[in-house]
């Protein structure tokens, strides 16, 4: 019985680990998870690996860069910017 109950807890915790990491759970839920983690090394181990995954993803853009900006395109972008600034001025902003 005990093992069954424990497994059930692990599964529930597993579903909430990202929200736990992101501090997006309410205080009560958060406490429940913390209590579970205190007594469950496998869940802690898994949580640590998920946390590491998230931090590895931060700023993990591809190193690829676009080709240099074509001067004609730059002029068009600048014209669009100028025009929208005129709109803004007309709206009195």
């Amino acid at each position: 019985m005990e093992t069954g109950k424990h497994k059930h807890d692990c599964k529930e915790v597993f579903a909430l680990l990202s929200e736990y990491l992101d501090a997006e759970l309410d205080a009560e839920r958060c406490d429940e998870i913390r209590k579970h983690l205190d007594d469950c090394p496998p869940c802690i181990e898994f949580l640590e690996s998920l946390k590491r995954t998230v931090s590895l993803c931060h700023g993990c853009q591809t190193a690829e860069q676009p080709p240099p900006l074509n001067p004609e395109v730059r002029e068009k972008l600048m014209a669009a910017y100028r025009k929208s600034m005129q709109n803004r001025a007309r709206q009195g902003l």
């Binding site: 181990e45 993990c60 690829e64 676009p66 395109v73 068009k76 910017y81």
Partner: protein
Amino acid sequence: MATDKRQEIQLARDLIEGKPEAFDRFVEVFRSKVFQYALMMCGHREDAEEVAQDTLFKVFENFDQLRDPERVRPWVFRIARNACYMKRRKSVFAPTQELSLEDFLPHSEGDGSRKLEIADWSALPDDQVLRAELRDVIHQAIQELPEMYRAAIMLRDVEELTTEETAQVLDVSQEVVKTRLHRARLAVRAKLDEYLRRRQSGVAKG
């Protein structure tokens, strides 16, 4: 090159205030950012280049509508996301395969030991070679995700938007963002784990 959020906000503020000196830097920062995002989302270089250009056009055409410079990053990504949709190739219209939590539940070794069958993440050396390898594994893992999960992890974890901003960019509820993000992270974690286990068993063999 991770760009600083504060720098982006300052550039947007300068442009709103009509200081054109900020223009080239703004273009440089967001062109690169949108290109990289689009490359992960579309998978084709030429599509990504077009998305970056189309996005910047829309951004400047509608620049008078950006009220709050603090929101510049999600605002640009919302436009980029729509530009990516226009570029969707036929294969992307295939029905999305839903990722199930069950698929990612780790298994314990036998009974009683309560040891997980996962790599030893605590033993990761902090060296540059491994770091570069892990980045490749992450990119590969993200690109293999179904589109809706890919978008969630790209915006939340790679571009570091908030849940609320991501929900706005993707036009879904925050709950939906959280659900997709968790599954996406689990999928990427699983690929990293698989890679690390292979690497660690290789190292162990000498």
